[in-house]
Amino acid sequence: MMEFVMLHLPALQVVVPMLAAPICLLLMRGGLAWMLALVTAVLCFAMSLLLLQQVIETGPISYHLGGWEPPFGIEYRVDAMNAFVLVIVAATSALVLPFARRSIRAEIEPSKQALFYTVFVLCLTGLLGVTITGDAFNVFVFLEISSLATYVLVAMGARRDRRALTAGYTYLVMGTIGATFYVIGLGLLYQATGTLNMEDLAVRLQPLGDLTSVRAGFAFIMVGLALKLAMFPIHAWLPNAYTYAPSVVSIFLAATSTKVAVYVLLRFMFTVFGYDFPVVELSLSTVFLPLAVIAMFVASAVAVFQTDFKRLLAYSSVAQIGYMVLGFSMASVTGLTATMVHLFNHAAMKAVMFMVAGAVVYRVGSTAVASFAGLGRQMPWTMAAMVVGGLSLIGVPLTVGFISKWYLILGALETGDWIIAFMIVASSLIAVIYVWRIVEVAYLTPAPEGAKPVSEAPLSMLIPMWTLALVCIYFGINAELTASIGQTVAEALLNGNGVSPAVAIPEVVPATDGAMEGAAP
């Protein structure tokens, strides 16, 4: 039994949540659906850890769905990079769900709670699927599963504020345009190569670097994915979606969905096209690098002037995405390490901050910055977690944010780019301003006269929140684990050119079916 599970781990990672979703729907009752969703998330987390361990021990795993050999059948391919992202996604879902129970009870109508968990688990399925698959069209399908679920989840904030509906609608239009751009790009690549498997694409694209249609395909795919990851300046959907979504959804989206989009972008840029590909290098230095730097400043500056805590965090996310893009646009091992480390670190710190927002909504009922007045005394643990998250956002030593920025600055200095290094520090100073605004209101402004006393957030919220806050501190002091994984990934992406031998599961059966060969012209 155990052997069977270990053998089919890559498939189970996606199949388990996929099957759990309809069962959640059939359970009808919010409480039961929550239990099932929690069990599913914990199982997914355990499976992702097993996969990561397996990958570190034996190298990349190639799983052939249905026993079809890779260029023809769909392949699930797990290497250090996506195993790491799988852990981020699954761990976030396992930590968000304990938090979700009370928060959802307060924010979603009872009759819709089971539906909420159904869609939530579907979203998890989509994100895990995007991350694990090695087939480029499969990425599109899973991307749309997760995106469609996300539109619904965002719109469920309509009970608190009707603007959630328009936020969900805008996200749907932008997200669909992004996904369609991705499909156009993929069509152009398919036309040139006749394959959809990422490894196979990487091999066949090598000699085709001068083909205009392949270059156009590259551009379409990059723009489509940039829309999905809310890269400046096409981030317009993100602030409203994060602000009006239910608290739990904001936590989950901020920590996972943009990270998965960054992963797909890296996968295409460095594995499928490869760093040597003519347009990749050009686009990194002329498009991604300048946009990342502008994002760091503009989005941080906009965050300073927000009067709503969640919207402030949303703009801060756009700025932090800028740091991730900056990391890989340096195209050095240190820069890519910074991106991978920051994927993990930003997931942890943004999840803490949005959990604080969720706890404040639960107790106070508003996320306006002004409503934080006096909370430093009344919700000491929640506000302390907020300070930890805030210090991480700034990048103060002994927090995870410092590790990310350390690698970013190292990367910038390696290439001799003093200006970029200086800008990283300068943009961190803007983060000091927006974090300080909240801290000041929470600790130095007394609660308004006659306001009802507010009690501390319940334990079911504090425990996930502080688990993540401790993660922020622990990996800020001892970054060996994240940094070593990040470095392994970065080296594999830049030097190995992505094509490395993998352990095939199930063992390749010879002579499948000749008819499939017609697929490749």
Binding site: F140, T176, T307, R363, S366
Partner: protein
């Protein structure tokens, strides 16, 4: 002489021109129209143009439908892009369904599906979402003021 080469270039790629025209029409409608339903129509035209692109790419000149015939020299069209688009059509239909149901909810909450009117209706609101926690009022916001 030059004219005929140019014509050949245009006519030989007529499927791409059609796709590009449809694509631009779709994107234009999404951007230019304020009506939320019309925006979805534009989005669908945009998606359909991509479907046509895939399907025309899969056609092999002189090839028959990819159904096995008893002839060793039979030339088949490539079925794979067609199958991919079958999946993409399902995704497109699901997106349209979610989009339309959102429009219905927006219509109930605001009483309109015009983007400008929605913006006017929300103009006076605070930046923060309305209270809705355990201690706040949790009145549903359905039945807007527009």
């Amino acid at each position: 002489m030059e004219d005929s080469q140019f014509l050949e270039f245009v006519i030989g790629r007529y499927n791409y021109w059609l796709v590009i025209v449809l694509m631009m029409v779709g994107l234009y409608v999404v951007v230019a129209r304020g009506n939320l339903v019309k925006k979805l129509v534009g989005l669908n035209i945009f998606q359909v143009s991509v479907f046509l692109f895939y399907i025309s790419v899969g056609k092999v000149a002189g090839g028959t439908a990819p159904i096995y015939v008893d002839d060793p020299n039979a030339l088949y069209s490539n079925p794979l892009p067609h199958v991919l688009i079958l999946t993409a059509i399902v995704v497109g239909v699901a997106t349209l369904a979610v989009g339309l149901s959102l429009v219905i909810r927006i219509q109930r909450a605001y009483g309109t599906v015009e983007e400008d009117d929605i913006q006017i209706a929300d103009a006076g609101r605070d930046a923060s979402p309305r209270a809705g926690g355990a201690s706040g009022s949790s009145a549903p916001t359905i039945g807007g003021s527009a």
